[in-house]
């Protein structure tokens, strides 16, 4: 929709003209990956604001960024699908909550911030981790519980962390990460380093009391906190209209300003996060509601079709898929050919397969790891095996 508007509306055509003219001659075709000439695109829908002024619908981006979006989102999508197969093959055990469909939120957010800014999220964290700079090997190894994983195999799917990139995880208890995120913001305000914290939560967690406690503290103390509600409209199997009196999650903050964003449009997410970061540094907390969708069920134990129709899922996939949107944009702006994009997807597929193969070779954590990192030191608890005579260890 944005694309047709971009192409057909006279004002937009004026913006696109210079670029189009330059690349009309194939001889002067710029290489796609390094082009940083700014391109302006309009977001699919305008932002809806609560107690603040919505940012402009016009987003500045570059060819490099757009192709980068495509590549990273394709990588995320491929990784999640691969995790699905690994789970069904019983190489991943426990719980696995997949993010496919919601990639635009992870990628758009990353595009607007730096690694000094912190992100904290719930258990649907694989793609946020990848966005923060995590490698595929670390992802798959952690999912399979191997030593090469980002949490040394001890966390599993729900507990990915990346300290050097300001990614504070990865939390299993619904809503518990929100007050933590506010605490991170407090520390950042103290450090005065112009960084902000993004605390992500879902529409299910939006009904938790701790969210409102956190909002009050953040607003009272003017913290650079951005609370992002990833509204995929279903809390496990409960649709938002059955769980929430007010599904306008961006307004739930009452005295805290909010913005509703099309979470399937990576550029809209980027614009919103940029706006939110500036706002948070000047005026304190803000809520971003990302209107997004997950194709998979809540977790791998949930087929995802008992509480919503397959038509709904395929409808969203056809009309709002974030990767398709970027693909269409890239093609319409002639930044790459179909074949090049397909090649990117093939590359990405291979990367994922290679990472899985490498992860499979990584060993399980050593049994002694069961006792490490419970305390820092000096606990001195005894533990012994079935035969009390041997394997008596004083725990570190």
């Amino acid at each position: 929709m944005a694309l047709s508007r971009a192409a057909s509306s006279p004002s937009r055509a004026a913006l696109l003209k210079p670029l189009a003219a330059a690349i009309s001659s194939s001889l002067f075709r710029r290489p796609i990956s390094t082009d940083t000439t700014p391109i302006t695109v309009e977001t699919s829908v305008p932002f809806t604001a609560h107690r603040c002024e919505a940012p402009s619908r016009t987003v500045e981006t570059t060819a490099e960024e757009l192709v980068g979006f495509f590549r990273t989102m394709a990588l995320m999508r491929r990784a999640e699908i691969a995790a699905d197969s690994l789970y069904k093959a019983k190489l991943i055990r426990g719980f696995c909550h997949l993010y496919d469909g919601q990639e635009a939120v992870a990628i758009g957010m990353e595009a607007a911030i730096t690694k000094k800014d912190c992100i904290i999220t719930a258990y649907r964290d694989h793609c946020i981790y990848l966005g923060r700079g995590g490698t595929l090997l670390e992802v798959f190894a952690e999912l399979m519980g191997r030593q090469a994983g980002c949490s040394k195999g001890k966390g599993g799917s729900m507990h990915f962390y990346k300290k050097d990139a300001g990614f504070y995880g990865g939390h299993g208890i619904v809503g518990a990460q929100i007050p933590l995120g506010i605490g991170l913001a407090f520390a950042q305000k103290y450090k005065k380093d112009e960084s902000v914290s993004f605390a992500l939560y879902g529409d299910g967690a939006a009904n938790q009391g701790q969210l409102f406690e956190a909002l009050n503290m953040a607003a009272l103390w003017d913290l650079p906190a951005i609370l992002v509600c990833e509204n995929n409209h279903y809390g496990m199997g409960t649709a938002e209209w059955r769980a929430a009196k007010s599904p306008a999650y961006y307004k739930r903050g009452d005295y805290v300003p909010g913005l509703k964003v099309d979470g399937m449009d990576a550029l809209a997410v980027k614009q919103a996060c940029k706006f939110a970061k500036e706002h948070a540094l000047k005026n304190g907390p803000i809520i971003l509601e990302m209107d997004t969708y997950r194709y998979h069920g809540h977790s791998m134990s949930d087929p995802g079709s008992t509480y919503r129709t397959r038509d709904e899922i395929s409808g969203v996939r056809q009309e709002r898929d974030p990767i398709e949107r970027i693909r269409k944009l890239v093609l319409s702006l002639d930044l790459a050919t179909e074949k090049e994009l397909k090649d990117i997807e093939k590359e990405v597929r291979k990367e994922v397969d290679d990472a899985i193969a490498q992860a499979k070779e990584s060993p399980m954590p050593d049994p002694s790891e069961l006792f490490t990192n419970v305390y820092v030191k000096g606990y001195g608890v005894e533990s012994f095996g079935a035969d009390r005579k041997e394997v008596r260890a004083v725990l570190p």
Binding site: K90, R93, G94, F95, G145, G153, K154, G155, G156, M158, H159, G172, I173, V174, G175, G204, A205, N207, Q208, G209, Q210, G235, M236, G237, T238, R242, A243, A244, M364, P365, P367, E369, L370, F371, V374, Y379, V381, S383, A386, D387, R388, L395
Partner: protein, 365 residues
Amino acid sequence: MATSAAQRFGRRLASSVPRRRFSSSAAAAAATGGSAVQRTQNPSLNLCSAINQALHIALDTDPRSYVFGEDVSFGGVFRCTVGLADRFGKGRVFNTPLCEQGIVGFGIGLAAMGNRAVAEIQFADYIFPAFDQIVNEAAKFRYRSGNQFNCGGLTIRAPYGAVGHGGHYHSQSPEAFFCHVPGIKVVIPRSPSQAKGLLLSCIRDPNPIVFFEPKWLYRLAVEEVPEHDYTLPLSEAEVIREGTDITLVGWGAQLSVMEEACLDAENDGISCELIDLKTLLPWDKETVEASVRKTGRLLISHEAPVTGGFGAEISASIVERCFLRLQAPVARICGLDTPFPLVFEPFYLPTKNKILDAIKSTVNY
């Protein structure tokens, strides 16, 4: 790791069906008052069906009872509340939003108005947001109002315990936290017929109760469950296996592991007495004391971490009462002092071999 979990699964299955007949026939006989009725063939139910039956009966017999929690309306994530909404209506069986603190607080209020509120916490691991409500509100309501008000009609049900792949947040056994709170009761059933009777007792008991259901046994434990309305007494422990050399005390799913250890110990000539505590708070000290006076040795086993686990309370109380009779230190075979691990679950859990080893060392002390 996968194989040992499967073996454990298999062992539970193997042990749960034949062994429980021993105690269930005792329970069924007690339930029918020992009267000379023809023993009709009761249907075999698993744990979640038994609990479902209990809830049906509870809602049927008291028009002012309610069942609520996350996802209970369609039947619940473990199918324990199937059919309730259809039969009793959405006004009495309804979903709550995702807010444990709110669910329990709301339940306390509902119970304070004289209703029977059966609140479900989806996993015991999620009960902690509600901990303040349970400890500070529910447990103290009657006491602080001088018996003007109470929330005795409140029963909180939560699936607890290891399930083979639950990891940190779907496997915890938090019973010890609640046993430390005077004013509430803590009840844990070991089998389907026990669960039905105990749950009905809990719902009808005039005190707020936390009822932990061993999720591993939801599908796995199958036995004959009487179809009629019956209750089992609270705060009465049950001796489910008689012996003379050592007393073993446990509750919930761990009992089946302990039973296997008892069988193995018997092959080595050690006669074990196994007690199901059933109610952890207030617990039946007399039964355990009588048993320890008979055997002189005690072993307690639970999945929760050993330090500060409820085994410590049992051990201290029995030592106080039976010090001169004890022939060996009280043994506690429990979970390790770590967060409940994912890949390391088989190492963490108090397995049959750990218990068997402790039985032998205690007997040979």
